[in-house]
Symmetry: C2
Subunit: 168 residues, 2 copies
DNA sequence: GGAAGATTGTTGTTGACGACAACAATTGCT
DNA sequence: AGCAATTGTTGTCGTCAACAACAATCTTCC
């Protein structure tokens, strides 16, 4: 039960349009997806699009994107990690992580500290400012997560997390 | 039951490393994700990455990517659609669809036919070659879908499709 | 019937992102 | 000491979403 199902609901849809030349009978969401309906990848792509847009909007005031949030969270929970360790854990390329950390370091949320035990690597830490900021980000992210719950239903969200747990 | 769960299995992992300078006790997948574990977006991102890579690999011989496949499928099932209709139905921007169709048209899989009823728009059709090609793509895509089933389990895949049906 | 507004396809730009390849500095192994 | 591997970094390439602008065309409304 619950789950809501909620129709597609693509914002503006003030009831069709009278006579359209080209569209003829094809009135959007009257168009069949054929084989696409059985593909998990398609559904996941649409879902990810929706969920990222909501995340970006919800955390818009603090200007934090999903990837940045994941980096901050992991560093916050595991201070002193190397860039390589963070990259491997999150499935980010270490080349990409360089730019992400550059940005976060400029914003004084993260600092790279030269490791004493391995002079190649950096130990990553949140700044004091980064620590309090992350707390705020987490509250906003929790609000975003509630949006997801409202969209697909509480039980469905939890099942989703369980099904996909092997990818985290 | 079933479901397999299957560990993360990120290719090469030949059992830790003896003494590592920087990593210390953090031996990958010993690193906590903290708040991230409760976020559907993170799980979905990782899953989508996996699923797209498998799709691209499985359809590698025919050089068809997920978005191209979705466009071909919709056109095949609804001949004569306008670019706008396809874009709206698939959640693609019409600007992006232009390049996608340019590519598919060069490969003689799709043709744009000037609409008589609306001289602004194009009626999209598969070529004969595109029609037989799509049939092959669908067989390969079905193989990809079986990979998904093996990864997350048959029942889980179906539940996933049901949960995310409101986004398709 | 004609002006004003909306729609369609197109081009171009921007930025996030994943995948690769190369490199210097450093470390580990033998 | 020497050679292979690792770490951070830089750079390039291609995909993709989000915008903005534009010409051609259609709709609508007066």
């Amino acid at each position: 039960m619950t789950a809501s199902v909620a129709r597609t609901d693509t914002s503006t849809s003030p009831r069709k349009r009278a006579g359209n030349g080209a569209a003829l009978r094809e009135d959007v969401d009257d168009i069949g997806l054929d084989a696409l309906v059985g593909h998990a990848g398609y559904a996941v792509r649409r879902f990810q699009l929706w969920i990222f847009q909501d995340f970006i909007k919800t955390l818009g005031d603090v200007d934090i994107r999903p990837t940045q949030y994941s980096v901050l969270t992991v560093i916050g929970a595991n201070p002193g990690l190397s860039q390589m360790a963070v990259a491997k854990r999150l499935g980010i390329e270490r080349a990409r992580l360089v730019h992400l950390l550059d940005s976060l370091e400029q914003r004084r949320l993260v600092k790279r500290i030269k490791s004493k035990t391995d002079r190649r690597s950096h130990a990553l830490h949140l700044t004091a400012q980064g620590d309090t900021a992350l707390a705020k980000f987490k509250r906003l992210a929790a609000a975003h997560e509630r949006h997801v719950e409202e969209k697909i239903g509480k039980a469905n969200r939890e099942q989703l997390l369980q099904i996909l747990a092997c990818f985290t």
